[in-house]
């Protein structure tokens, strides 16, 4: 991953969190809350669920920090995004269970409709168009593309986060880009 979070070692911070150092935890939160929220929000397309998931994520990080080094040797950023991805999947499963119980397509549209933050600045036309394109991508393609393009993870790191192989990450990103290209072309023609 690109060094977008600064030079401080995440490993040392996580180790300190493991020793229940609250300042280190706050630094981890401040470092990751925005990129992780951004990823979870683009995956779930709902602000309130994204906030709940990110809160749960940091609680899990706090609880699991003492065991972090012992469990695996992955980079802290990959580890954090992996937990975020797993929690997001659980949230989607929960929603789908709820939808099956409700059996109402209207509810589905409401639940998956993108909520806007009050007072948020309106995006430019092109950004709106690409945002709709990203929203229409299948979940696995969307997550792989965002992890690559917005967060700068390598294919190997993405494969660890999404719990899949490098070659399927390659194919997911390829297909996501092709779909987006087609979508943007269609938008321009209309």
């Amino acid at each position: 991953m690109k060094n977008i979070f600064g030079d401080n070692s995440d490993q040392d911070l996580i180790k300190a969190v493991g020793n229940r150092n609250h300042q280190a935890f706050e630094r981890i939160v401040n470092r990751y809350k925005k990129p992780v929220y951004n990823f979870v929000y683009r995956y779930l397309l709902d602000h309130s669920s994204a906030e709940e998931v990110v809160q749960e994520l940091f609680l899990r990080v706090y609880q699991a920090a003492p065991k972090y080094k012992a469990v695996n040797n992955t980079k802290a950023s990959t580890w954090i995004f992996k937990i975020a991805f797993n929690l997001s999947i659980n949230e989607l499963k929960r929603r789908r269970r709820h939808l099956r119980l409700m059996g109402d397509r209207v509810v589905e549209r409401e639940m998956f409709a993108e909520t806007k933050i009050p007072g948020a600045v309106e995006d430019k036309e092109i950004t709106e168009s690409i945002m709709s394109g990203v929203r229409l991508l299948p979940e696995n393609q969307r997550s792989a593309l965002l992890l690559r393009v917005q967060q700068g993870f390598s294919y190997l790191e993405i494969s660890e986060i999404l719990n899949t192989t490098v070659s399927s990450v390659e194919s997911l990103i390829y297909r996501a880009r092709q779909r987006l290209k087609q979508y943007v072309n269609m938008e321009h023609k209309e």
């Binding site: 609880q63 393009v149 917005q150």
Partner: protein, 137 residues
């Protein structure tokens, strides 16, 4: 490599995920093929547009709420693997059971006689037996 193969590799090429040999192949092909160069340009534009999507963050109260939860968490006993995982479920169960026995709504519920079909010595049987005794008392 022909254009079809190159187009399949172009996405990984953009991400520097090809090995040096494949990357050289794509480089050479791009020098001569205008169509593939165009494809690369379009995909790079798609990426640039995705990067342009405005970033959003959690609400202003997020950190404060989280630190409150963490403070609560810190007060809890250490959750050290095996012992915690074994006993926490028992504790939770008995806590709920105890709360049920002492709950206020019991006195306002309907007749208990209709709940007579639990197997003897099951928890439900004991529970309703206790309630019946309590009511009689």
């Amino acid at each position: 490599m022909n254009c079809l193969k190159i187009k399949e590799k172009i996405s990984s090429y953009m991400d520097n995920e090809l090995d040096s040999e494949q990357s050289k192949c794509v480089d050479q092909h791009l020098l001569h093929c205008r169509v593939c160069r165009e494809e690369l340009k379009i995909l790079q534009q798609v990426d640039a547009d995705v990067k342009e999507i405005p970033a959003c963050g959690p609400s202003a109260q997020f950190s404060a709420q989280l630190m409150q939860q963490i403070a609560k968490e810190a007060d809890l006993p250490e959750r050290d693997g095996f012992t915690y995982n074994i006993f926490v479920h028992f504790f939770k169960f008995f806590e709920k059971f105890y709360n049920l026995l002492n709950s206020q709504w019991v006195s306002t519920t309907a007749t208990l006689d209709e709940f007579g079909d639990f197997p003897p010595c099951s928890i439900s049987y004991i529970y309703f037996k206790l309630l019946a005794t309590k009511q009689r008392g």
